[in-house]
Structure formats: structure tokens, C-alpha cells
Symmetry: C2
Subunit: 254 residues, 2 copies
């Protein structure tokens, strides 16, 4: 049975997609069979992994027109598979609202394929709507990327409230996998202030690994590659490999 | 009658809030009576203008429990007023769905206060849901902030589709006010590539003024001030004053 992890934060542009792509690629690099599930209608995780075919997506899996296995794109990279997103997802929120058992649709779908993987990472859209709630309900834990900026701090209270509500009402096992500082720039006072605040708030949940601002990370998606495949010497590639190591240690996988 | 302008882009973290706050403050500085309407449940525009009181918000105005005038915080800065957001907005999307005339709720509310202002700017959340659709339906035009990053390019097609749908079905007068390049860094090849692509796609709609990446812009919100009130010598403050001048020229206001 795979461990299912949502990568979530309703604040926009904090590094959810970047973390999903690069943490997944790094876990795959260390031999873990990993699945990325893109549930953002923007489908950035899909295109960041060079998948541009819009024929089917997680939308079809959620609505039930295709079985979960048919939504899988296997081994898009060694040990890494994808269930892509497409624009139809925009309509999914309203359609799922009318489905029986609407909170557990994603849970039920992922259960059918979970034995094929060690880890499943779900890239969430920048909102706390039905799709994100479905992902949290289906997950064992949540990775929370926090950009080292002031506005990123403000939203954390809302996110924790939502996680607690989901935990109480739909998914008792939900926990925080870890809090990740992203776009950290050690030259900026603001970065240090935010990092200190996040460490005070989340304590041992915060990853020791920080993802530094690195232009190679933002160039990689235009080539459809995780940064380690685009420029393996880049500091960004190394940061995400370090994160994967720390992630595996916390999951007692040597 | 005020000109009503949505600041919208479903891609997260591209500078919607930063542009709403700083363009509004600059227009107010040039003597325009300006209103900021924050419809993002994250309420970043509200806190960026040092408003932290959660008692009432645009939610109460939309649902109709208070009249629009009661939602106004007048002269939060000279010539600048605010209708704040709060967390209740998360529930607004589903409540508005059940209201008669649901696409025109915002239009109807803003009509009642529009004669008090020259310009009204609406800060939209990072999604194309009911709240953003309501804002687009209520607006004369849209300012589209585009971060100089690869993923920011990908979402533009979806946004234009949505603008066209709203224009055809709900609001014939809707047009693109302008496209603004944000977090531009002239040292980065990626910035130049994205800028060239955006200019090719939008041509004369793109503002000549580019907002350069400037740490003072991201520090200002922690003091609850637009950047021109936090550090008037900062390049970011100058960029937004230049933008306001260009905006007024395009609106034939000397
Ligand atoms: N460490 C980094 N260094 C430099 N650029 C980065 C870094 N992490 C992310 N970026 C860039 O910042 C932008 C925002 O990141 P990303 O799209 O991953 O955030 P997101 O949270 O998924 O956004 P959304 O809320 O729209 O889903 C992207 O253009 C990405 O390439
Ligand atoms: N020109 C700039 N230079 C430096 N930092 C900037 C600039 N513009 C915006 N920022 C910072 O980038 C982050 C994202 O900007 P902002 O929050 O305005 O985007 P947004 O589109 O409103 O995000 P959301 O999608 O969450 O609503 C903020 O922390 C902001 O302070
Ligand atoms: Mg994303
Ligand atoms: Mg915003």
C-alpha cells in the first residue's frame, strides 16, 4: 500500500508544483516507485513532466468514465508515473458536489491503484475547495510548501484549520508530513524572518532542508523536466535530493 | 460612475494582490478617488493595507446582510478606500450559486457605491470560480499580471477563454485593460524569454512599464503599507507610480 501525500497550500505560487515534481523525481531516483497525481486545472505538474496530451485526466477517473488504471501514464521517468490534469477539472468541483460519498471519491479511486506504488504525491490547486478537500481526505499526510515571503505566513492558520476539520470529520489518520521552506534567499532579511517564524510555529515538522531560490529550478519546466534531469549540478537539484533523503529518513526508509 | 477593473489571473503568486495594492495607492496619489475590493478569502489586499478587523467583509455585502456602503472603510489612505475580505468568503461560492441572478450579484452591489469613486480595483483569488466570474461580470476591464516565469505563460490561454465567455454571456463591455509583466529580472534569460512571448501574444495591450523584482515590494506588506509609503525611493515604488501614469494616459486622464 502506497503512502499518499498531498502537497497543499491555498496561497498561490509557493512551490507546490515545483515540490511535487522534484521531490517525486528524487524519490524515484532513490528507487521508490512514485506516482504524481495532478489535480490542478492549470495542469502545471503534467506539463512540467512533459505531458501535454489532453485526451484523458484525473477528471475522467474521478467522474468514473475510466478506471484509475486507465488514467495512469507509467514510467514517464524511471520509477515515476503520472495521472495528468486537464482543463475539464474546472467543472469537477460542481460535479463532485452532486456525487454520493462526495468527500471520498478520490480516496476510493486511489485505493484501486495504490498497491503499485511506494509513494503517491498529489499536486493541489491554490484553493481549499472540493478538489483539495478530496485530496486531503485521501491522504495519509500533507507536505506544506511555505514561500519565504510575508503573505505566505498569513495563510497558514487557515490551512491548519482546514487540515484539522478534515482530520476530525473525514480522515482520522491525516497528519503533517512536513513543512518545507521554499525560494529561500539567505541574503534577504525577509527570508530569515519568515524561516524563524515558521520554525517557531511548526518546530520539528519543518524540514532541515531548505529549497533556495535557484533560476535553474524555474527554467526546468520549460524543458518538461525535473531540475535534476535539466541540470544535475544545480543547487536546486541538490536541494530536492537532500529533501528526498530527509523525507525517507522520517519514513524509516533507509 | 467609477471604472471597475478586475485584477485577475488563476495562476497563483503572480502579483495580483501586489498590483492591486500598489496601483491603487499610486492612482490615489495622483488624486483619483480609488476603491480596493478584496474578494480573495486569503484577504492579502486587506492586510497589505493594514486592515485586520474581521468583523465584516465583502462577504456580508454579497450575501446582502449589510448594504454596500456599510462595507466601506473610507480613506484608509488619502483618496483610497477598501471593502475587505475575510474567511467567510470561502463559503460564498456555494451560497452565491443558489442566489437568483447569481452571475450579477457583484455587479448589482458595486453599482450602489460606484458614483463615489473614479476607479474600483477588485483583487481576485487564484482561481476561475464563481467569485472571479462575478468580478469579471461586474467589470469594465481586466488587468492581467503575468509573472516572468514559464508556468505563468501556460495559464494565459485559459484566462482569455474565460474572459471571452464572460464577455459573450454576461458582460459585453468587458475588455483587457492591460497586461503587466511582474517580478521581471533583466539579468535572467527566462525573464526576457517570457517578456518576448507576452509581447508577441498581447502586443499593444502590454504595459511599457515592467515591475522589476524588488525586495522592498515584498517587505512592505509586513508593515501594512503600499511600497510607496514604506520606501518611496525603492525601484518598486517608482515602477508602480510609472504604471499608474501609463494607466491614466490610456484612460485619457491627464
Ligand atoms: N526554489 C525556487 N527557485 C526559483 N524559482 C522557483 C523555486 N520554486 C518555484 N519557483 C518558481 O516559482 C513559480 C511558482 O512555483 P510553483 O508554480 O511551483 O508554485 P505553486 O504553489 O504550484 O503555484 P500555484 O499556486 O499556481 O499552483 C514557478 O514559476 C516556479 O518555477
Ligand atoms: N515585483 C516584486 N518583487 C518582489 N516580490 C514581489 C513582487 N511582486 C510580488 N512579490 C511578492 O511575491 C509574492 C506573490 O505576490 P502576490 O501575493 O501579490 O501574488 P498573487 O497573485 O496575489 O498571489 P495569490 O495567487 O496567492 O493571490 C508575494 O510574497 C509578494 O510580496
Ligand atoms: Mg501549482
Ligand atoms: Mg493575491
Amino acid at each position: 500500500m502506497a503512502k499518499i501525500i498531498s502537497v497543499a497550500n491555498q496561497k498561490g505560487g509557493v512551490g507546490k508544483t515545483t515540490t511535487t515534481i522534484n521531490l517525486s523525481a528524487s524519490l524515484a531516483h532513490y528507487g521508490m516507485k512514485t506516482l504524481v497525481v495532478d489535480i490542478d486545472p492549470q495542469s502545471n505538474s503534467s506539463s512540467g513532466l512533459n505531458h501535454r496530451n489532453k485526451d484523458f485526466s484525473i477528471y475522467d477517473v474521478l467522474i468514473g468514465t475510466i478506471p484509475p488504471n486507465a488514467g495512469l501514464i507509467n514510467d514517464i521517468l524511471p520509477n515515476l508515473s503520472l495521472i495528468p490534469a486537464n482543463i475539464n477539472l474546472v467543472g469537477a468541483e460542481i460535479e463532485i458536489l452532486d456525487m454520493p460519498n462526495r468527500e471520498y471519491v478520490m480516496t476510493e479511486r486511489l485505493k484501486q491503484i495504490s498497491d503499485q506504488f511506494d509513494f503517491i504525491l498529489i499536486d493541489c490547486p491554490p484553493s481549499l475547495g472540493i478538489l483539495t478537500l478530496n485530496a486531503l481526505t485521501a491522504s495519509d499526510s500533507v507536505v506544506i510548501p511555505v514561500q519565504c515571503e510575508y503573505f505566505a505566513l498569513e495563510g497558514l492558520g487557515q490551512l491548519l484549520n482546514t487540515i484539522n476539520i478534515v482530520k476530525q470529520r473525514f480522515n482520522k489518520k491525516l497528519s503533517i508530513e512536513g513543512v518545507l521552506l521554499t525560494m529561500y534567499d539567505s541574503r534577504l532579511k525577509l527570508s530569515e524572518l519568515v524561516a524563524a517564524e515558521v520554525n517557531r510555529y511548526f518546530e520539528e515538522k519543518v524540514y532541515n532542508t531548505r529549497i533556495h531560490r535557484n533560476v535553474r529550478i524555474s527554467e526546468a519546466p520549460s524543458y518538461g523536466k525535473p531540475v535534476m534531469y535539466y541540470d544535475s549540478y544545480a543547487s536546486g537539484a541538490q536541494n530536492y535530493l537532500d529533501l528526498a533523503k530527509e523525507f525517507l529518513e522520517r519514513n524509516n526508509v533507509a
